[in-house]
């Protein structure tokens, strides 16, 4: 049971009886116990539930009705509701909150027999790109512990990169799966908006939030996606679409958007050019394209996402659940202090921003304009996909930065320059490891048309077939 074993190998080991699901879970729990004090990638570990689920998986395996994920350890980002286990969202507001129900994603993976070991660290309410807004302190990058694992799904990426779990769920609103995947050297997929149910995912920005998958390889991520995806009658925005299947790679035309490639850091550019050559070698042709409204994506994203967040986070008022201020003097005092104490600075900044852009007199200038920009960005992608099958781009402007290095909130928002466009357009995008700069991993972003995750999986798998970046492991 090597920490870096892939799902196919683990499946074989479990089915062949080389080890049991219980042993696999115990092994992973032991590694989490040893590594978490340094990496801080788990907020909650649930060993008892994990071992009970592992025993159930072993019974299924023995009975001969194991599915692809039965007995495979997994971790959930701490904004997927888990019945009976804390779901903190990385916030003091929900530090003590235990939901009474499972998110659809959690329920589906549980039904598939995956063994959840616990809940991973994240930026508070998924608002952040470095994990530093977490009430529980930042998770750390296994490649260099003074560096960020990225955010907001930093704990998930860190845990997979460190070999603590082979699979982890995450969510991506403006890059929260792809950026940490790139920073930690793992594979991360943000599916099409509507592909994976949002029911039970604590909302940040409802029109952008999308659950997705982390793994060490495209093969592993594909297995996780197939267990998560599909229509959910409890989520009106979830789509009724056929399951994801890989397409063929040979003959695909790939677009390189100049707005992403121009002005890229030299080391990063080198990695990405080499990666592109591998895809050409796999049978793709490459051409330049333009996504002209790319520069407007970050400001539009922060208007739309903050507006939705300002409403989504209004329910945390200290009345029914979550943090409640001691001895309130009045209703107003209860609201002010519960929210003042429960939310961190970045969350407050976005609630204020969102409230502002929706206010009378500002709505047209900000919210409506941002929605118009969003439509233009979506149209950019639709136009591009008229000419190319998929897009190849960087994930981030740089490799993982040092914790504490980015203090200015707007500079932090600019981290999302290459990830927010796909979020606003709702198209699927994936980050695959494609090299190293300064000893830290870099990611290659693949973007496909709506519901064409099959192309991303095919391209990513072809790339990983020809390269071994995804097999590199951080120092123990």
């Amino acid at each position: 049971m090597a920490p870096a074993a892939n799902i196919a190998a683990l499946r074989h080991g479990l089915d062949a009886g080389d080890y049991s699901a219980r042993e696999l879970a115990q092994d992973a729990l032991g590694r989490i116990e040893a590594a978490n004090p340094q990496l801080n990638c788990f907020i909650t570990v649930t060993p008892e539930q994990a071992l009970a689920d592992a025993d159930a998986a072993d019974a299924r395996i023995a009975a001969g009705n194991a599915g692809p994920l039965t007995g495979i350890p997994i971790a959930h980002k701490d904004l997927f509701c888990t019945a009976g286990a804390p779901t903190t969202c990385g916030s003091r507001m929900l530090a003590e909150y235990v939901p009474p129900y499972d998110a659809t994603v959690v329920a589906r993976l549980h039904a598939a027999g995956a063994v959840s070991l616990g809940k991973t660290n994240m930026d508070e309410f998924a608002m952040g790109a470095s994990n530093e807004t977490s009430w529980f302190g930042p998770a750390r990058n296994p490649w260099h512990r003074q560096h960020t694992p990225g955010g907001s799904s930093g704990g998930a990426a860190s845990a997979v990169a460190a070999g603590l779990v082979p699979l982890a769920t995450g969510t991506d609103t403006g890059g929260s799966i792809r950026q940490p995947a790139a920073f930690c050297g793992v594979t991360g997929l943000k599916p099409t908006y509507g592909r994976v149910s949002r029911y039970g995912m604590v909302a940040f920005a409802s029109s952008l939030d999308q659950g997705g998958a982390f793994g060490r390889s495209v093969d592993d991520v594909e297995r996780l996606l197939q267990a998560m995806e599909g229509h959910d009658p409890q989520d009106s925005t979830s789509a009724e679409r056929p399951a994801t299947t890989r397409t063929a790679v040979a003959g695909m035309t790939l677009g390189l958007p100049r707005e992403y490639w121009n002005g890229l850091d030299a080391g990063m550019a080198q990695c990405l050019q080499a990666a592109t050559r591998e895809l050409e070698a796999a049978g793709c042709t490459v051409r330049d394209i333009s996504l002209p409204h790319t520069a407007a994506a970050v400001p539009a994203y922060y208007v739309v996402a903050s507006a939705e967040a300002s409403a989504n986070l209004a329910r945390y008022d200290g009345v029914r659940f979550g943090h409640r201020a001691e001895a309130p003097k009045s209703l107003d005092d209860l609201y002010r202090r519960s929210r003042g104490e429960g939310f961190g600075a970045e969350v407050k900044r976005r609630i204020l921003t969102g409230t502002y852009v929706l206010s009378v007199g500002y709505y047209d200038a900000y919210y409506l304009k941002a929605q118009r920009v969003r439509r233009l960005i979506r149209q950019d992608f639709l136009d591009a996909f008229g000419a190319v099958d998929a897009i190849v781009a960087p994930v981030t402007p740089s490799v993982a930065f040092e914790l504490g290095a980015v203090q200015d909130p707007v500079a932090m928002y600019r981290q999302d320059v290459f990830t927010t466009p796909a979020s606003l357009a709702g198209v699927p995008a994936m980050s695959v490891p494609c090299g190293f700069c300064d000893g830290l991993p870099t990611g290659l972003q693949l973007i496909a048309p709506h519901f064409e995750e099959g192309r991303l999986l095919a391209l990513g798998a072809a790339f990983q077939h020809r390269t071994d970046w995804h097999l590199r492991q951080p120092p123990a």
């Binding site: 909150y97 129900y101 409802s206 989520d235 029914r320 659940f321």
Partner: protein, 476 residues
């Protein structure tokens, strides 16, 4: 000084769906506090709304009934404000794109019919209830009502008197009950009304400053509160003051309106499209389904009662107001003279229902039996008086009209020979009175009729008895 009042109503109609508008929780009235609220109604983190199709269907049925414009697409928005009984910190409502626009309701308040335009009708969720009593200085929150579907109907400011406003509300209630979209139960808050009231000098075209009067939940209160508010505004203006735009609460106990305090509602609700709910396409199939639920409407029914059944306007109103009353009446009137049926409905039937506290829907006398009874009066088989006795028997014991007549020997004595004998006996038995009658005391005819009726146990046909008595008394 001559003043004209201008009134517009906003009526919240609680739709009679089985479950709530965005969740599967039950929507029945009167359950123990917080027993009919699920995770969605509580606004638990991660929960999502799913539109109740039946609520949409009901709104469409209403729109079709008032001949409104039905958009091909409607949309839900979030209305943001903080209040402890509003679990999410926003109410899901329709702002920009309501389901129903335009249309009209025709009222008749003593005068000729008048068409009152409807501005719009939109779907929204109700909030919970704040209970300020029984909690020793604290406020209890009951979320059973949270998420109950409401159709908010907004009229144009085309009502000109308190009486017209009450007539509008009455007509709207009748319509809602006919369409079976609401139980219209005012005591349970199934219909709640707010009024926008302003006054202006007669002949002026500009509107005066208006106040919003809340909490008008019965026909009587609407009329009284609006009348009061009109008088108050005229007083203010004639005293040289100005009406200030404000929300006033009607206090039924003191019969006055006063400025609302406490609930500090923001003026800026920061409406924006709810990203959890996709725009709703109104398909032809859905419209056909809604159209199939539009029966003959109260106004058409009243017109038919007057024009083809010969009822008065007041009779038509009374019989057509409640759909169950109308259905019963029509069943009786289909098999008996309609006007007699109408009189019996409003007299004997209404009195008996009243005495027993029963609703017409569970009337113990089947409509067919009542029709048969009325037909027997028409046929001269029984007198009206005997029929009333038979009705009591039907009410208390049930049975068949003809069988009761036969068994109890209640057939009217229309055999002239038999009656002539009885008349002769009665005249012979009262020679003094007979002489007085012949001497000009014509009133004594009544006495003799009474004697005949007594002798025949009421079975004599009074008309025939009259004629025979006159004959017997005049030529001895």
């Amino acid at each position: 000084m001559d003043w004209e009042s201008v009134i517009g109503l906003e009526v919240h109609i609680q739709l009679a769906t089985r479950s709530k508008i965005f969740s599967g929780a039950g929507a029945a009235f009167g359950a123990e506090p917080n027993t009919q609220a699920c995770g969605v109604d509580l606004g638990l983190p991660g929960t999502l709304p799913v539109l109740n199709r039946e609520a949409l269907r009901m709104a469409l049925t209403f729109g079709l009934a008032i001949e409104a414009e039905i958009a091909s697409e409607c949309r839900f928005d979030r209305k943001n404000y903080f209040y402890p009984d509003l679990p999410k910190g926003y109410q899901i409502s329709q702002f920009e794109a309501p389901v129903v626009k335009g249309g009209a309701i025709v009222i008749s308040a003593g005068e000729a019919e008048q068409r009152i335009g409807i501005t719009r009708a939109h779907l929204e969720e109700d909030a919970g209830k704040s209970l300020h009593e029984d909690y020793a200085g604290m406020t209890g929150i009951d979320l059973n009502r949270a998420g109950t579907p409401l159709l908010e109907v907004v009229s144009e400011p085309e009502l000109r008197s308190a009486a017209q406003a009450a007539a509008f509300f009455r007509e709207l209630r009748a319509l809602a009950r006919y369409l079976r979209i609401s139980d219209g139960n005012l005591n349970e808050g199934s219909m709640r009304c707010d009024a926008n009231v302003s006054v202006r000098r007669r002949g002026a075209t500009a509107l005066g400053e208006r106040t919003e009067v809340k909490n008008l939940n019965s026909f009587r209160f609407i009329e009284r509160a609006i009348r009061h508010e009109i008088a108050r505004q005229i007083d203010v203006l004639e005293g040289g003051g100005e009406v200030s735009r404000e929300t006033r609460l009607y206090d039924a106990e003191r019969d006055e309106t006063r400025p609302m305090r406490g609930k500090e509602l923001s003026d800026d609700y920061r409406y924006f499209p709810d990203p959890d709910l996709l725009p709703v396409r109104i398909t032809e199939a859905l419209l056909a389904e809604a159209r199939a639920q539009v029966p003959e409407l109260p106004r058409a029914k009243r017109r038919r009662y007057q024009e083809t059944l010969g009822l008065s306007a007041a009779e038509a109103w009374q019989l057509a107001e409640e759909p169950s009353m109308a259905a019963y009446f029509e069943a009786v009137a289909g098999a008996a003279p309609p006007r007699r049926a109408a009189h019996w409905m409003m007299d004997q039937v209404a009195a008996a229902l009243n005495r027993s506290g029963l609703d017409i829907a569970v009337c113990p006398v089947p409509a067919a039996q009542l029709a048969q009874l009325l037909q027997r009066i028409e046929d001269g088989v029984v007198s009206g008086k005997i029929a009333a006795t038979i009705f009591e028997v039907l009410w208390n014991e049930g049975g068949d009209v003809d069988a009761i007549i036969a068994e109890r020997g209640l057939r009217q004595l229309s055999d002239a020979d038999a009656l002539t004998g009885i008349v002769a006996q009665v005249v012979a038995a009262h020679p003094g009175q007979a002489q007085q009658f012949r001497d000009g005391k014509a009133k004594l005819l009544g006495f003799f009729v009474g004697q005949v009726m007594q002798a025949t146990a009421g079975k004599a046909d009074p008309k025939q008895a009259n004629a025979l008595l006159l004959k017997a008394l005049q030529d001895p």
